[in-house]
């Protein structure tokens, strides 16, 4: 059968990282083609190229639609060629009606004046295609997530889409909504609409897909018909690589159990997201890894422990035998917790500030007396961490915005080391930084643990979790799905606990 879409030898580089390395992939009409791989394998990057978000010229290789090479300068052109992407977070204007959203950018109008009756009729027929029985005049923001997603699909179909890309479409859906979505996708495929389906839920993939492609480290591992695949095989192919030897060798000598979280439940009323019934322990000198897929609640768990997430909390937290009641990050820091949060630019750094102001930000009382800063001791502290962490910078007064990712992350680490925490939590500490800086951060984590600090590391990179941790806790859908010790943990075991099988 002729390919409707084909990519050949696609390569995409980000500063310091090759995200895609000669990926080859194709889609035939009416096919549901699943794309699976670990976090960071390159799935989303590939989809951004197909949908024109990364325009032609920013990547190497070819994209062909119906056998002809296409060079999308933007999203509009890729939509015109019949490719539409449904994002994890919907691109809908919540305040607008369903009909207005479906027709956004494609308004039914004459001379710039919108034809309301015709608009409603057009929206209604698009809604019928996705089996959604709601009024086109309903306000989009009031619909449930499942319905909003169908509205998004209806919007894409309205544009005569021939290839629909869905990126983790069921992450936020209930069981019933998931069933509904899968049957609608099957119906669309019967009508000749192809679908690229990205999911961590391997059970769904096995149920839905005609063919399955596995990506790993930016390369295509294999493309197989479903009949030639099993869930276990998929997992092996997703993780199948050797552990590199950049990690500190021996396990740590762990001491007393000193940090204990029991029956911890937190919920964010705004998003409805929750983490439930978490039990966690930490010894002096121990590194506890938390693994899990994106959206499994790892970040939310540590943020809630730190008093920075969730409206309601239940459960108890004990440090050195004393019960903690933490409602704000101030209280967490005072109690001896430190949190190197993910996304350093958003949560970690004051970008207009220089190195010394960032390093001292969480410990201002240490460099001041009666509220007046000691500028000399501020510089001294800044320079101490520049030396200690080998931050590459011309001066302590360099603005952090001008530093590389690895050096920025070291500034954030310095800030938390300066608070001298008993428990240091690191959330994706090596994301987006180069290999050299990664290694230095691994060494630092090892050094801090050997000095007796308790450390919790969240990472989506399995080799990293395995290489750093003495013990690994795996989370899935807001709960702990299992715990593994250093000796028995393997990437396969972690993935099995992290992905919902069946």
């Amino acid at each position: 059968m002729a390919h409707i879409l084909e990519v050949a030898g696609i390569t995409k580089d980000f500063p310091g990282v090759r995200a895609l390395d000669g990926v080859t992939f194709d889609v035939v009409p009416g096919e549901i083609h699943a794309l699976v791989g670990e976090n960071g394998a390159g799935k989303s990057t590939l989809m951004k190229i197909l949908s024109g978000i990364y325009p032609f010229g920013t990547y190497g290789g070819q994209v062909l639609v119906e056998g002809k090479e296409v060079r999308f300068p933007g999203i509009k052109e890729s939509e015109r060629a019949g490719i539409a992407i449904i994002h994890q977070e919907f691109a809908l204007v919540k305040q607008m009606s369903v009909a207005e959203n479906i027709l956004l950018g494609n308004e039914v109008a004459s001379g710039g004046v919108i034809d309301r009756p015709a608009s409603l009729a057009a929206a209604e027929s698009a809604l019928k295609l996705v089996g959604l029985n709601i009024s086109p005049e309903a306000v989009t923001g009031r619909l449930g997530v499942g319905q909003q997603q169908l509205v998004e699909i209806a919007k894409a179909l309205r544009k005569n889409v021939r290839v629909l890309i869905l990126d983790e479409p069921t992450a936020a859906l209930s069981e019933e909504e998931t069933r509904n979505l899968l049957s609608i996708l099957k119906g669309l495929s019967a009508k000749g609409v192809s679908c690229i389906y990205i999911s961590h839920r391997l059970g769904e993939v096995m149920e839905l897909a005609d063919r399955i492609t596995v990506l790993r480290d930016g390369k295509t591992v294999c493309t197989e018909r479903k009949s030639a695949m099993t869930e276990a095989l998929m997992i092996t192919k997703m993780v199948g690589r050797e552990l590199t030897s950049v990690f500190p060798e021996a396990a740590h000598k762990t001491g007393e159990l000193f940090f204990e979280v029991s029956d911890w439940t937190a919920e964010d009323p705004a998003s409805g997201m929750r983490v439930e019934d978490i039990n966690l322990t930490l010894r002096h000198g121990e590194v506890l890894g938390i693994a899990g897929l994106v959206g499994s609640g790892r970040t939310e768990l540590v943020m809630s422990l730190f008093g920075a997430w969730g409206g309601r909390q239940k459960g108890s937290m004990k440090l050195d035998g004393a019960e903690l009641s933490i409602k704000t990050p101030q209280e967490a820091i005072a109690a001896g917790l430190g949190l190197v949060s993910e996304d350093r630019k958003r949560y970690g750094l004051v970008l207009p500030g220089d190195i010394k102001t960032n390093v001292t930000l969480a410990s201002l009382e240490k460099i001041s007396s009666s509220g007046v800063l000691d500028k000399n001791s501020e510089i001294r502290e800044g320079e101490k961490y520049i030396r200690d962490l080998r931050i590459k910078t011309p001066s302590v007064e360099q603005r952090v915005v001008n530093l590389s990712g690895g050096n920025q992350q070291k500034v954030v680490l310095g800030k938390w080391m300066m608070t001298a925490p008993k428990v240091l939590i690191l959330d994706e500490p090596t994301r987006g930084i180069d290999v050299g800086a990664k290694f230095e951060i691994y060494t630092l984590i090892d050094r801090l643990a050997r000095a007796g600090m308790g450390i919790i590391v969240i990472s989506s990179e399995l080799p990293e979790v395995l290489g750093l941790s003495d013990r690994i806790m795996v989370m899935r859908e807001g709960r702990v799905s299992g715990e593994l010790d250093r000796q028995s943990a393997t990437q396969e075991k972690i993935m099995t606990l992290a992905a919902s099988l069946g």
């Binding site: 730190f306 920075a308 704000t328 990050p329 101030q330 967490a332 820091i333 005072a334 949190l339 949060s341 958003r346 949560y347 970690g348 750094l349 004051v350 970008l351 207009p352 500030g353 102001t357 930000l361 969480a362 201002l364 009382e365 001041s368 509220g371 007046v372 800063l373 500028k375 000399n376 510089i379 001294r380 320079e383 001066s395 302590v396 007064e397 800030k415």
Partner: protein
């Protein structure tokens, strides 16, 4: 030379501002003739700047935290009206009236802080509401009519000069001269201490030549500034008030934990919160202090006019915000200096002063001020994107 070029490049924002001010003065000195640079006119120019400059000092910190205040004109007018009504209609003495006005300012600041910090209503809206409400309350307390004349001691705040400490007549004011000498001495002393502290710890410092050049230039500027005042009538009390507020806020911004937290909150509120900074209480504290500063500006304004009028302070918020922005304060938050905003205020009032001397049509005066503001911000943004 290379070091000089580097320093210039690093602080290009501040130098452009100073060059702009010098350029504006040069243009007016040429087009208005020597009257523009006469001690009498310059002294008057400084007095015209004082009210807006006081407000701009406080506004800088408000904008640094990512907030804004549109109500300064109304609130300053209100504080002045309170002081005027208390002394004229209720017979209060000057200290009582001044304290009551300051208390009113602090209370208004607390009101704004409550809504902005604890109820999360955007500052733009909270202060827009106050801009309307306090314009109304001015009418309420004054009964809709001008309240005048004010007590002598009260008038002194905005109109009197520090007396010459030598009674005999001179061609210049000796108190101004003494203050100038003291200011230069204090400046050189603090700079030297800062430098020797850094040297002792082995931190990077500028080369001795440049250091002396910097001390000389700034000392000359201080001497020139007070020289102008000395050859006129001396140092006005209101200018002393401005200097005190500016020094205090500058110290707060650069040398205190509170100030550092304000900059962090404006630079990245998420990072500040996760670093254990209580955003609400810091914003609340800032607005209370700022309310007191606005009231002080209102007192100077009312005293200068020798009356509380219903339209006192109209458009003051715009002048103050413009002064901050021209002075390099980023409306995105996290960046801005007190001294920059004062120079910004001086640029704005120099334009006012010079264009009035030229008898320029008021139409063009507004248009030119608007265009200057626009180009200042554009320059800033295009510089940032480089």
């Amino acid at each position: 030379m290379e070091e000089l070029a580097q320093i210039f490049k690093k602080n290009i924002r501040q130098y452009i501002m100073l060059i702009a001010l010098a350029g504006i003065w040069l243009v007016f000195a040429v087009s208005c003739g020597p009257v523009f640079v006469s001690p009498g006119n310059l002294s008057n120019l400084f007095l015209q700047t004082v009210t807006v400059a006081i407000v701009a000092c406080g506004m800088t910190l408000v904008i640094v935290t990512g907030n804004i205040d549109l109500s300064v004109g109304s609130v300053a007018g209100f504080a002045g009206a309170v002081a005027a009504v208390l002394q004229v209609r209720h017979g209060w003495n000057t200290p009582g009236a001044v304290l009551a006005a300051l208390a009113a300012g602090l209370a208004v600041g607390a009101w704004h802080g409550f809504w902005i910090a604890y109820r999360k209503v955007p500052a733009f809206i909270v202060t827009l509401a106050s801009m309307l409400a306090f314009r109304g309350l001015i009418l309420g307390v004054t009964g809709g009519s001008t309240v005048a004349p004010l007590r002598g001691a009260f008038k002194a705040i905005g109109q009197q000069y520090l007396p010459d400490f030598l009674a005999a007549p001179h061609s210049f004011n000796t108190s101004a001269l003494l203050i100038a000498l003291a200011a230069i001495a204090i400046f050189i002393l603090t700079e030297t201490r800062k430098r020797s502290g850094r040297l002792r710890h082995g931190f990077l410092v500028t080369s001795p030549g440049l250091y002396v050049l910097r001390l000389t230039l700034i000392s000359a500027a201080i001497a020139g500034f007070f020289g102008v005042l000395a050859f006129n009538q001396g140092v006005p009390y209101s200018l002393l008030l401005l200097m005190a507020i500016a020094l205090l806020l500058n110290f707060t911004a650069e040398n205190t934990v509170f100030g550092r937290r304000l900059y962090a909150i404006g630079g990245n509120p998420d990072a500040a919160r996760l670093s254990g900074i209580n955003i609400s209480s810091n914003i609340m504290g800032l607005f209370v202090i700022y309310g007191g500063i606005v009231a002080a500006a209102g007192l100077v304004l009312t005293s200068r006019l020798n009356a509380a009028t219903t339209s006192a302070g109209v458009n003051m918020e715009l002048d103050a915000i413009a002064a901050c922005v021209i002075g390099g304060t980023s409306l995105m938050g996290g960046e801005g200096t007190i001294i920059g905003s004062i120079i910004g205020a001086l640029i704005m009032s120099s334009l006012d002063n010079g264009m009035s001397l030229l008898n320029m049509d008021i139409t063009y005066q507004y248009v030119i001020k608007g265009l200057i503001l626009l180009s200042a911000v554009w320059l800033d943004i295009s510089n940032r994107n480089k």
